[in-house]
């Protein structure tokens, strides 16, 4: 994982958090945040270091000046009135939706679940993330660590598993699918690879009348979702339903069609999308690798051969090398194939492992030991030249200035094994793209792709998913697919690619009458509910048996109540406020303060509870009658609506913020909206 220290992402650009040590804060104040101007994390990291260095110097100079003159330096500008007409302002308050790469409207679908409107809840998901049933089982769920509930209570809402509920409980949703025009628009688009990225592009373009052809080297569509995600996590029926739903919308799927030359097909299409993933598993070139190759397998290739039922067994003793999710899938699959001694080894300490917490937990629950700080040295062979074990060296992690170094300790261990699975990463590979057709590659052989438009240096060729910047996950592949579809549509309509449709938003008051609001504001104090699991013994004997059973209806409805409705926005109108403080007193989490305006730093310090979470914005009103301003710290708001309920003049209102990230399915809606 890249080093994100002091970095956070806002409006798709990386920012640096800067803070002065506490001891000097009173004297100098602190600079809150500064943009790196970079969308790419790898580029943002060096910029971050530069900004921090500059800041240190600037800070030293300020300090010396201040010491000399005995003056106190602080920022001079007062906070600006918050512009709530900027769709991003309230979007950011919906922590989960903001964190979701496809900006799924989470609180709305959770409310629909609470009303048992499973079809609607499913469709809302389908529009933005395309694969609710698949993602509800496998998503990397960046929404959950972002969820407000993790700050106000203990654990986040089980957003991902509630998504699964929409799939599990829906009825036939075919009637709600978009209509596909019979008369086509005459543009032909070629998609290479049938993974989630390409499928999303197809889903977005088909309703607009494009003729879409998908080339897939395997005999079935789905990409890594089919070949690598084991069916005990993602059953084939779920995958098939959601993947073929898109094919049935009218895509021309050509399976067993490996593209070996881009040049050969490029002229047959108006635009080409490359969604071929990062198909090359990394190898481990150490002593004995060649000699023992019969029993050493590249994890992702091995999982693929199991998915296609070419491999049906493995040795009794298996070592899995690697600390990511692939390693977790490999070890759990090995156990199900009949291995009885499976160990995972990883170079780093357990706390630094790349695997998601829940995937790691599942592996541990299935009784698989994780040996951390264990670095592979050598494959060991017996007299007949067959693999018999591996030599490792124990490592020790040392941290200096927040940077980790793994130091060899000299202690060696030997582990016996029959087979080894390598799960140490994936690379992109494009042997089939000719170097002279206008697609530029960087020094690591990755194509140069624009972060906004997904366009390569060849105007007709677009990239997305793992093929663009290396392995990520399904939801990022979907998000890329949406953006690429917008670009392809613009490109084919001769519209500037940067002239992109804005997101759809509107704010609608939820007041229904006196003491009547249209949403359930009661705050459940329940702890996060666990998803029931299948019987472990049975599950371990069956490669295809789904381990997680999903929430039953009762659990789903209870879990749905935990959501804090973060899209129910508190909207303030200073003209109506009589400064009676009713909202200040009723607010359970002390979000609201009436005070004099000042610099952000000073304001953050003088609120009823100082606003220390710099990732969360302050909502600042215009000047009130007394000359003060209203400041609301969005950080801890539980969206109970009581500020509006207690306000005698209606200066506070609760308005539902319906934010829909632009994608081609709502293209027409976006246009009408603009006219209206």
């Amino acid at each position: 994982m890249s080093d994100k220290k002091y970095l956070f992402k806002r409006n798709n650009v990386w920012w640096v958090k800067l803070a002065v040590p506490l001891s000097l804060r009173n004297e100098l104040g602190y600079d809150l945040r500064r943009s790196t101007g970079e969308k790419d994390l790898d580029k943002a990291i060096p910029v971050r270091d530069k900004i921090i260095e500059e800041f240190k110097t600037e800070f030293q100079i300020k300090k010396i000046n201040a010491d000399d003159k005995g003056i106190v330096l602080r920022g001079t500008e007062h906070m600006q009135k918050t512009d709530i007409s900027d769709p991003q302002y309230f979007h950011k308050v919906v922590d989960c939706q903001y964190a979701c790469p496809a900006h799924t409207n989470v609180p709305e679908y959770i409310r629909l679940i609470a009303q048992k409107k499973y079809d609607d809840a499913y469709m809302l998901n389908w529009e933005s993330n395309v694969f609710p049933g698949i993602l509800g089982r496998t998503c990397d769920r960046p929404c959950e660590p972002a969820c407000r509930r993790g700050r106000t209570h203990d654990k986040p809402v089980a957003i991902c598993r509630l998504k699964r509920v929409t799939y599990d409980y829906k009825n036939d949703i075919d009637p709600y699918l978009p209509e596909i025009p019979k008369v086509k628009n005459g543009k032909k688009i070629g998609l290479i690879g049938a993974g989630p990225a390409s499928l999303t592009v197809a889903r977005d373009l088909l309703p607009l009348g494009y003729e879409v052809t998908i080339f897939e080297k395997d005999n079935k569509p789905g990409g890594l979702m089919r070949t690598n995600i084991p069916s005990f996590r993602l059953p084939a029926e779920v995958l098939d339903e959601e993947v073929y739903r898109i094919i049935k919308m009218g895509a021309d799927l050509k399976t067993n069609s490996y593209i070996d030359s881009l040049e050969n097909i490029i002229d047959s299409f108006d635009a080409v999308f490359v969604g071929t993933g990062a198909p090359k598993g990394k190898d481990l070139e150490i002593t004995g690798r060649k000699e023992a190759s019969e029993n050493i397998h590249i994890g992702i290739d091995w999982l693929t051969s199991i998915a296609f039922e070419h491999t049906k067994s493995i040795g009794k003793k298996v070592i899995v090398i690697g600390g990511g999710n692939t390693a977790m899938d490999c070890c759990r699959t090995a156990i199900r194939l009949g291995a009885d001694d499976v160990k995972v080894t990883v170079r780093s300490p357990k706390s630094d492992m790349k695997a998601s917490d829940w995937e790691l937990e599942e592996a541990i629950d299935e009784g698989i030991p994780i040996l951390d700080n264990t670095s592979p040295k050598e494959f060991l062979l017996d007299d007949k030249g067959k693999l018999k074990g591996m030599k490792f060296e124990k490592m020790e992690a040392q941290y200096t200035d927040g940077k980790r170094k793994l130091i060899p300790t000299g202690e060696e261990i030997i582990i016996e094994c029959d087979d080894v699975l390598l799960a140490i990463g994936q690379d992109n590979a494009f042997p089939w793209i000719e170097k002279n057709i206008g697609i530029d590659f960087n020094e690591w052989d990755c194509p140069i792709v624009d972060k906004t438009t997904m366009q390569s240096s060849h105007p007709k060729v677009f990239f997305g998913g793992d093929a663009a910047w290396g392995p990520e996950n399904i939801i990022w592949a979907v998000a890329h697919g949406h953006q690429a579809a917008i670009s392809i549509d613009n490109f084919c309509s001769e519209i500037d690619l940067f002239d992109r449709p804005p997101p759809l938003t509107n704010l609608v008051s939820q007041k229904m009458g006196i003491h009547e609001w249209s949403y359930d504001n009661d705050i459940s104090q329940e702890v996060r509910l666990e998803v029931p699991h299948a019987d472990l013994k049975q599950a371990l004997n069956d490669l295809k048996m789904e381990v997680e059973l999903g929430f039953d209806e009762k659990l789903a409805l209870d879990e749905a109540q935990r959501c804090l409705n973060c899209d129910m926005q508190t909207v303030f109108q200073e003209k109506l406020c009589i400064e009676c403080d009713a909202c200040v007193d009723i607010c359970p989490t002390d979000c609201i303060t009436f005070t004099t305006n000042d610099t952000e730093e000073k304001v953050r310090e003088k609120l009823r509870v100082p606003a220390l979470n710099l990732d969360q914005d302050l909502y600042v009103s215009g000047k009130l009658v007394t000359g003060r301003v209203m400041i609301k710290d969005e950080d801890m708001c539980v969206h109970c609506g009581l500020c509006a309920e207690r306000c005698p003049t209606g200066a506070w209102d609760i308005q539902k913020n319906n934010y829909i990230e632009a994608h081609n399915l709502n293209k027409d809606k976006v246009k009408t909206k603009e006219v209206a």
Binding site: R151, T152, H153, H515, E516, W517, D520, N521, D522, I523, Q525, I578, E579, C580, D581, A582, V584, D585, I586, P588, T589, D590, C591, V609, P610, L612, V625, T626, M636, V638, C640, G641, L642, E645, R646, C647, P648, T649
Partner: protein
């Protein structure tokens, strides 16, 4: 739709010396109209008790009848309480104060409760120097009975329906100073920075402390022709400079220029530091205070702040030389004089 305040609180909420947060001093959900000044006063009482590290079980909340008199239900859930009949809270407070000196008495009343039906009781509680904080939540109207004029409503202030007020107002602060109240302040429910330290000072003061707090009734007396509306008070409020409450053993944090502040020492050694304004005002001189109030009334200004303080007064229990211990803790040997003394008394009678 729920209008109960959720139990969630900000994880970084400040704690006082007892380890309690402000929220631990709350009461039930208010049933007063949204925006009522009385709710703001409750919040200031909560804040003051929180900051003074008061243990709620050592407080008694007393009140009469009125919206204001309902307010004690909305703060300090864990305290004692007595809701008396209309205007009779001062007698209850007097009795309770004699029976148990150890509790902190917070009397909450309204302008109707104190300036009309209960005015006789009010005056005698002052005269007797009952050791209590007496809040008048003054809105110029009988809120609870739907907006009749009260005795503190200004002559020129019409009611909500445009009817004229025929009688001049009673000024409770001057009356209290004349009757011997030893701590008299006026404030505004919408000015917390001023009100909280004044409440803290009143709590630490020993003797009768009156807080006459203008507290707009949003429902019946917040119209354009009212002189007790939020807007009118904000436009006519003449606050007497900043008041700071300085707990015992702490240094004054705000820095006024030399000679620009007056300090008042309270009974327990804590202090009130008052920023001086151009009134050249000495809050310990009753004549001076009465003059200032009269002068500002004439100018059509509402003077707010600490108006008068006598920190040398003797409270009721000292005047009457009552036992230091609460009566209910006195043991038999303290209560029963014994047969020898009984004999002396009996002989006296014969």
């Amino acid at each position: 739709m729920s209008y109960f305040k959720p139990i969630n609180k900000h994880p970084n909420l400040e704690k006082n010396k007892l380890g309690l947060t402000r929220r631990d001093y709350e009461g039930g959900v208010s049933t007063l109209c949204a925006g009522c000044g009385h709710d703001s006063i409750s919040a200031c009482i909560i804040e003051a008790c929180f900051r003074l590290n008061i243990e709620a079980y050592k407080v008694a909340k007393l009140s009469g009848i009125g919206c204001s008199s309902k307010a004690p239900a909305y703060f300090l859930n864990a305290s004692h309480g007595f809701n008396s009949v209309h205007g009779r809270m001062p007698s209850i407070a007097t009795g309770a104060n004699c029976a148990n000196e150890d509790l902190l008495y917070l009397g909450v009343s309204g302008d109707g409760d104190s300036a009309s039906i209960g005015i006789g009781q009010f005056i005698h509680a002052i005269r007797r120097q009952v050791n209590m904080v007496y809040f008048v939540e003054n809105n110029g109207t009988y809120g609870l009975t739907k907006g009749q004029f009260s005795a503190t409503n200004d002559l020129e202030s019409k009611n909500k329906y445009g009817e004229d007020n025929l009688f001049p107002p009673i000024d409770l602060t001057s009356m209290a100073i004349q009757m011997g109240a030893s701590y008299v302040a006026r404030s505004f429910s919408g000015d917390r920075d001023q009100l909280v330290p004044l409440i803290m000072g009143a709590i630490q003061h020993k003797g009768f402390a009156l807080l006459d707090i203008i507290s707009p009734c949003v429902t019946f007396n917040n119209h354009d022709s009212s002189t007790k509306s939020y807007d009118y008070i904000r436009n006519h409020n003449e606050a007497m400079g900043k008041t700071d409450f300085v707990p015992l053993g702490e240094e004054i944090k705000t820095n006024y220029d030399e000679g620009s502040s007056v300090e008042v020492k309270l009974h327990d050694g804590s202090r009130l530091s008052l920023e001086k304004t151009d009134h050249n005002f000495d809050p310990t001189d009753a004549g001076n205070s009465l003059d200032l109030i009269r002068k500002k009334n004439k100018e059509g200004k509402i003077i707010t702040g600490l108006l008068y303080v006598d920190n040398k007064c003797k409270p009721l229990t000292e005047i009457m030389d009552l036992p230091d211990k609460p009566l209910n803790t006195l043991e038999q040997d303290e209560l029963c004089p014994g047969s020898e003394i009984l004999e002396v008394i009996n002989n006296d009678l014969s």
